[in-house]
């Protein structure tokens, strides 16, 4: 059977007139609309078998209106009677409106952003996708003590339209692809797992040729069954680029999202631009405009063009991430970081590609003078509560007398962001970007982002254990 193409139900040219017409002539300070059509394919392997293969077609939209600082938001699957939906959003905005006018400064942009380079996943047949995933699955299952496997593969082609009452009209194609492989090993009552996460902007080739890596994670899951638990307490910890990237995202990135800050005067004091957060070697950047990374895009979901946003420069706070609203309220510039996971949600301040810039240290330098410490690699998950963060490694080793020693069960690291950033005493020369996983905030998860870092060393890091 040929690969089924879903026929577009949004006829774009006609749609543009309808949208522009529906947004005009209302009494509101600002109105914007989003429309989206997407096709999603998802493979799920569980228990060593392809368990689910799903195809999903989505089409829907939303309208958001602002009156005196209060927002109304209406989302729907049925895009008929658009003008009525605009009126509904305006009525809601009126009910929430306050005393003061909030003047947004949207860019007025008319543009169409087509697909980028690379072999797009939607031109690859289901047969070909299954073949590759079957190969990875078979490798995992053939490794010793691997009890079962999990594979989650998904690719999405999203076409999104943004329009606002100021005259912007942007069409963007935003494809995405993600793969998570997990090998689960068992010995008697003990169960351990190891995994691999990858993602791209729809380019299928990035998940090809992973055979030896897949074997490696399977062997690690097996080895973890015999690994000891770390003793809980305070250690010098060296993070690999993947885990350091997660740390950057969780520990600092979320704190630089202005929606956490703008209404909280005390937090605003802490996050004053110019304040020192780390050593002069520490530089942290968020940049959606880098070509081809998972968190890259040309315009955010408020139509703001993206740029490089330095957050920490030589240890000093120099910037933060903004939507139109947070930028207006803090009298700073919008940075193009307002993003929504889909049309069911209003855009909120989110990261894109967030990373620590490379320094000069080599890995050898970092562990060389550590008497007893931990080398934590790869990520399993992470979450943050502004001041506090916690994240877990997928792989960890003791460092003893300047050398890597025994494999440990995965460790959970936690700490206070401010103290920990200050405790970064070495930054490596080997920046790598991590394209797997996704970010969750509020109910909006997972949003495609990437993060990265060179190896970094943190003094006095709290490690959970028993």
């Amino acid at each position: 059977m040929p690969f089924v193409k879903v026929k577009a139900t949004i006829i774009l040219i006609k749609m543009r007139d309808i949208i522009i017409d529906a947004l005009s002539g209302h009494h509101a300070d600002y109105i914007e609309a989003h429309f989206e059509e997407s096709e999603h394919t998802q493979f799920t392997y569980h228990g060593g078998k392809l368990e689910d293969l799903n195809r999903i077609h989505s089409c829907g939209g939303n309208v958001r209106a602002l009156i005196k600082g209060g927002w109304g938001f209406v989302s729907f699957n049925n895009t008929n009677h658009l003008r009525e939906k605009v009126s509904q959003a305006i009525n809601e905005a009126r009910l929430t409106s306050g005393e003061e006018l909030l003047s947004l400064h949207p860019n007025i942009v008319v543009d169409t952003v087509a697909l980028q380079e690379g072999k797009e996943a939607d031109s690859v047949t289901l047969q070909e996708k299954k073949q590759l995933l079957d190969e990875y699955n078979d490798i995992m299952l053939s490794c010793p003590r691997i009890q079962t496997t999990m594979i989650r593969y998904g690719d999405t082609k999203r076409k999104v339209i943004f329009a606002n009452s100021e005259g912007s009209y942007i069409e963007q194609v935003k494809p995405g692809l993600s793969l998570r492989l997990t090998a689960i090993a068992r010995k008697n009552d003990e169960v351990q797992q190891a995994g691999l996460s990858l993602g791209s902007r729809g380019d299928f080739s990035i998940i090809k040729g992973l055979h030896s890596k897949v074997k490696e994670i399977s062997n690690r899951a097996n080895a973890l069954l015999d690994a000891p638990h770390v003793k809980g307490g305070e250690y010098t910890v060296v993070l690999d680029p993947v885990l350091a990237g997660v740390f950057t995202h969780e520990a600092f990135g979320h704190l630089s999202e202005a929606d956490f800050v703008y209404q909280n005067n005390k937090l605003r004091d802490i996050m004053t631009l110019g304040r020192r957060f780390g050593s002069k070697y520490l530089n942290i950047i968020d940049d959606a405009s880098i070509n081809g990374l998972r968190g890259s895009y040309k315009y955010d979901d408020e139509g703001t063009p993206t740029t490089e946003t330095p957050l920490i420069q030589e240890g000093v706070l120099v910037g933060r991430l903004h939507s139109l609203e947070t930028a207006a309220r803090m009298k700073e510039k919008a940075t193009g970081n307002a993003r929504a996971i889909n049309y069911r949600f209003p855009p909120i301040v989110r990261m894109s590609n967030t990373f620590i810039s490379p320094g000069k240290a080599s890995f050898k330098d970092m562990i060389g003078d550590v008497k007893e410490g931990i080398y934590a690699k790869d990520w399993y998950g992470g979450t943050t509560s502004l001041e506090m963060f916690t994240f877990s490694s997928g792989e960890a080793y003791m460092i003893r007398n300047g050398k890597l020693a025994e494999l440990l069960r995965p460790v959970v690291l936690t700490g206070n962001v401010f103290a920990t950033l200050n405790n970064i005493d070495m930054i490596g020369n080997d920046l790598e970007m991590n394209q797997g996983g996704g970010c969750g905030k509020g109910a909006q998860s997972p949003l495609p982002v990437s993060n990265g870092s060179p190896h970094i060393r943190i003094r006095h890091c709290i490690v959970g254990g028993r």
Partner: protein, 451 residues
Amino acid sequence: MESPLIEEVLNTATKIAEAAEVFELSTQETPVNFEANILKQLQNKESYSLALRIFKAGRIGFALTNGMSSLSSSQEKSKELIQTLLNMALETSQFGFPYNFNFSPQSNYPRVNIFDSQVEKVTVEEMLGLGNKLITKVKNYAPDILCDVEVDKGTKSIHIINSQGGDVSYHKSFFGIGIEGILTQGTDMLFVGDSEGSCQASNEMSGVADRVVTQLEMAKRQASVSTKSLPVILTPRGVASAFFSPIALAFNGKTVLEGASPLEGKLEERVFNNKLSLWDDPTIDYCLGSSPCDDEGVPSQRTILINEGIATNFIYDLQTAALAKTKSTGNGKRSGAGTPKPGMNFLVIKEGTTSFNDMVANIKEGLIVEQLMGAEQGNVLGGDFGGNVLLGYKVENGEIIGRVKDTMISGNIYEVLKQPIELGCAAREVDGIMKTPHLYCPYLAVSTGGR
């Protein structure tokens, strides 16, 4: 429910497949959001989706569309939608899992009250009033606190039909209120929060307000612990954040079938302390986890998972049950846009006899944990739990002396719940996923910065 589209999809699918099932979901929701104590946003969210599962040439095909509403689409659009859905399902069925079960036939469903017509009548103004009252009450106690509040109401309608003759539909209403507060002092941040929800409309928020004020009161001072094993009391919210995931995974029939559950082969064996009894129960009136049937149309039932420490049952959907040669327990749940899978409806941990105050009074040095952050990051499948104590208090000589910071707890449910635990005498619902009393563990690993 007048919905010709769903029947048309079934009829068309039945013509080309051996069997078919259509799941229709419409939701309407009106959340009101306050940010930093101020009314921020009103929303109206409508969604409609149709999921089609077919058996074709011995295999399962699945497709879903959330294209448009059944009520207003033109006939031409409906035809197009049906064809799209069918083509996608046929395409996936080529590689689908071989089917081994039948769709759920027409059955007798338990009477569960899950719809309150009053929910629809609650006005936006009343919801705003409720949010404002809650913020005022909390601010009265802590004037500097910044609260995010959501008051939410809505309805959900589900209709499931299949070629086996099964046809079941129901309407469910929901109403809830939740608060998260941040109190910032210097670089110190205190997070408090609570929520409450049910299928019934409510004009009360004092339960939530009282609990948040209690949290603020207990966190007034700071206290510190050192790295060692300590007795720990988990509050109902603490129990949910530490234990829900490892328990839900361990009793999931699919995890068991795959040999990944530590409880595999342990039915009828003592796996936990005999004070612990727990079950899945979707038949409690007006509880958010309730419904007359699961997402495959299998009648809801109460399933005992642990009876006085002894593992009794696992939970199943139709497909997993057939593979495991047993029967569905009415736990076929659809999350997001996927096929039904075994999932917990509503977990209940049986109350014990110890009061919270008695638990505290008997501790010389220990912790109370209200909220864990990152509890699900370890080896949850193996029963591990642990995380940063986002909100927790130190107990010394039977008194709560203050809040702890920079502190982690960690453990494994198969060790911790075997201990001589104590269960509280007052259970409460948490986040619509479970009902649990306080739980006292005689010792848990606690790690801190050690300053």
